[in-house]
Amino acid sequence: MSTSNDDNLSSHSQLSYQVFGELLDSIIVDVASESHRIARLGLDRNLDAAEEELRLSLQARGSAADPSSSSETTSKYVVDIFGQTHPPVANEIFDCMNCGRSIMAGRFAPHLEKCMGKGRKARLKATRSSTAAQNRHSRGSPGSAYSPYPNPNSTNRLSNGSLHVTGDDYSNGTLE
């Protein structure tokens, strides 16, 4: 390399060093001045409380990692604070307010879904016996108390144009 190149390089690097230095100083002054103002105006009063919370959180995570203190894991077989135990699937029995049948609590949602004609499975079920249902419907059988489809001829769900009524499932009840 020729000496002039070296000189150019060194003066380039000097220049860039200088520019970098100025930028760095500028950033430092920026942060220092801001922090000085925040401290003087008392805008950082909450810092201590925040740090304390953070410390407690760290501590908690540390002890939570300790396997002996795990209370997050399966508490389904544990005794609750009232001294009771419960089966994994809730076994309280009550009457469905849509169809009147006795249903077990833990299975109420799936039952209600079919009962009210909501959900994918309910709709698909309807299409299998759609012709039978169609006949029944035209004979004026009692529809379900709640029908999501005001127009029995609507084809907005299924592309093949078949009917979907809730009547079928409703009268048969759920299939468990």
């Binding site: 001045s33 805008l43 925040a50 919370e53 908690a60 995570r61 009771q84 307010m97 609590a105 879904e113």
Partner: protein
């Protein structure tokens, strides 16, 4: 003039500054005012002439920090302690002690060798910057604002009164025991998302007080709605009565589920759902019914229904033109705040840690709130029209909270969507959340003040005596994957934590709660939250339902 309890304290002036002001008054400040320019980040800088680079009058250099003498307007530099021409200037001319540093637009006292502060100076600096922000014209607006504030706080006063009366009743039954209102909720089939939110709402003070005071009377409701439409608030009322009845066997919210499914088409099925979605849906439904029943929604949009009295807050969005500093603000009501996770602090890439979390490598709720209220530079393809400049300009957008709700629900967006892979995944990273949270730094007044460099000035929207301190009372946590998982709620009653996992209620340490994976964190204003020793919600000796005598005159 009303005294304002400021969020900042005015530092005492050094005697040199005092002397300067006695002698020269505000002349110097006013001259500076015209030289204040705003850079693209909204920071104020002193820039006397766009055509000339400012140079030191001693050495003609332009490096280092430059100081402008407030008495003779001469410029001098300060490169190092050895080469400090400003000091030279102050020594050469007696009395020339106060300077303005150009880059930061701050006052500097050469004798004290320190940055000093003066509200009058800040006002001069800010006066140009706050175009469109509306600095305080306190005299005529003061009274108007006060009366508006009285009206907005009306709801809070009512809550305070009712809770005080609750306490006096409760004290009669004070006995150390399991708090009332703790009752398991049976999972009816993938309904843990519903149970978890219900548990949280059952213990939201305004909601609890409202329903337990029989403010939604089922008998009257039945009479009123002649068309027998299903009323979701009635079903909610049933749940409140059941859960606070003293009966400890798990309750099945079946009627509520049935009712809710009849109102919500898309969520009504035997599938897992998002708890936050359910929360919003439930608030909507209750508002619809309560808002109509005899209440008139006032013109200014303040809905008086219990949902809005409890959860409604106001978000402010400021768009600032980076050329001229003109800011336009819009307001949007909200019932909760959804926060993006500060994902850069996952701990795996220490190089990208934000300054809050450097030492620990963890995300914090406060960090998420900072992210939420951070000024965001809108891309050049998103240029917005600036009224002042009369053309489209690059802008900064910043969110802040104009009005805090009584109950603050923070929703942590624990999902990341990858546009490349076209799928969403859940972010399991732990998020630290404080039990006591001060929302003051996120108020519009604080955010705007910070954006203007934390200057001391009376800001139009300074909220006097506003309640910004919150206490957590419920945390809904999620474990598992995006498509399938399990929700559990932790409730804080009498400063003890209880885990509500569907039908199972157990007592847990606060450490377990801190270490859990929070999804919805519910805070309530500290004034409504009662801790520990007051035994406010104890089971009386007779578990008769009359323990909840509706409090007369609870308005």
């Amino acid at each position: 003039m009303s005294s304002i309890k400021s969020s900042y304290s005015i530092p005492t002036e050094c005697k040199h500054l005092q002397n300067y002001k006695l002698k020269h008054g505000l002349k110097g400040y006013n001259l500076i005012r015209d030289s204040v320019k705003i850079d693209s980040f909204g920071k104020s800088v002193i820039d006397k002439s766009k055509l000339q680079v400012p140079r030191c009058s001693f050495c003609s250099g332009c490096q280092g920090r430059l100081f402008l003498c407030l008495i003779c307007s001469s410029m001098s530099c300060s490169l190092s302690p050895e080469s400090n021409h400003t000091l030279l200037h102050s020594q050469s001319f007696s009395g020339h002690e106060i300077y303005v540093e150009l880059e930061m637009a701050e006052l500097y006292c050469m004798v004290c060798s320190d940055q000093v502060y003066d509200p009058d100076f800040d006002k001069a600096v800010v006066s140009k910057q706050a175009v469109g922000l509306g600095l305080s014209r306190r005299n005529e607006d003061g009274e108007l604002r006060l009366s508006k504030r009285k009206r907005l706080n009306f709801g809070l006063d009512l809550e305070l009164k009712s809770i005080k009366r609750f306490i006096s009743l409760r004290d009669q039954y004070s006995k150390s025991c399991i708090p009332l209102g703790l009752r398991g909720l049976n999972n009816l089939g993938n309904t843990c998302f519903m149970n978890s939110v219900l548990q949280a709402l059952l213990h939201a003070p305004p909601l609890r007080n409202y329903f337990l005071s029989d403010r939604h009377n089922r008998a009257m409701c039945r009479k009123r709605s002649s068309d027998r439409r299903l009323c979701l608030p009635c079903d909610v009322d049933v749940i409140f009565s059941a859960v606070f009845s003293g009966d400890r066997t798990p309750y099945s919210p079946a009627q509520f589920l049935y009712s809710w499914w009849q109102h919500s088409e898309n969520l009504a099925n035997y599938e897992q759902h998002d708890a936050h979605e359910f929360f919003i849906s439930m608030l909507d439904r209750i508002h619809e019914t309560e808002g109509k029943a005899g209440h008139v929604i006032r013109d200014n949009g303040d809905c008086p229904c219990i949902i809005h009295r409890a959860f409604s807050g106001l978000l402010r969005s400021d768009v600032t033109c980076t050329s001229c500093g003109f800011t336009s603000s819009t307001y949007d009501p909200c019932v909760d705040i959804s926060l993006d996770l500060d994902t850069s602090t996952s701990g795996r890439d220490p190089g990208k840690l934000s300054k809050l979390n450097e030492s620990i490598g963890t995300s914090t709720l406060v960090g998420c709130l900072d992210l939420f209220t951070r000024p965001e530079k809108l891309g050049s393809c998103q240029k917005l029209y600036c009224e002042n400049c009369q053309e489209k300009q690059d802008s900064l957008k910043q969110l802040s909270i104009k009005k805090l709700p009584v109950v603050l629900c923070l929703h942590i967006k624990r999902f990341a969507h990858s546009p490349v892979k076209k799928l969403s995944r859940k972010i399991d990273a732990h998020l630290e959340f404080p039990f006591s949270l001060d929302m003051k730094p996120y108020l519009s007044s604080s955010i705007v003040r910070r954006r203007l460099g934390n200057r001391m000035f009376a800001f139009q929207d300074d909220d006097i005596d506003i309640n910004t301190e919150f206490e957590v009372f419920a945390v809904v946590t999620h474990s598992g994957m995006l498509e399938s998982g399990h929700y559990v709620t932790y409730l804080r009653l009498q400063n003890q934590w209880f885990k509500c996992d569907d039908a199972w209620i157990t007592k847990v340490n606060e450490e377990v709660v801190r270490a859990s994976q929070c999804y919805l964190v519910y805070y309530v204003q500290k004034v409504l939250y009662h801790k520990g020793s007051e035994d406010v919600s104890c089971q009386p000796l007779s578990s008769h339902a009359d323990a909840f005598v509706p409090i007369a005159g609870c308005c």
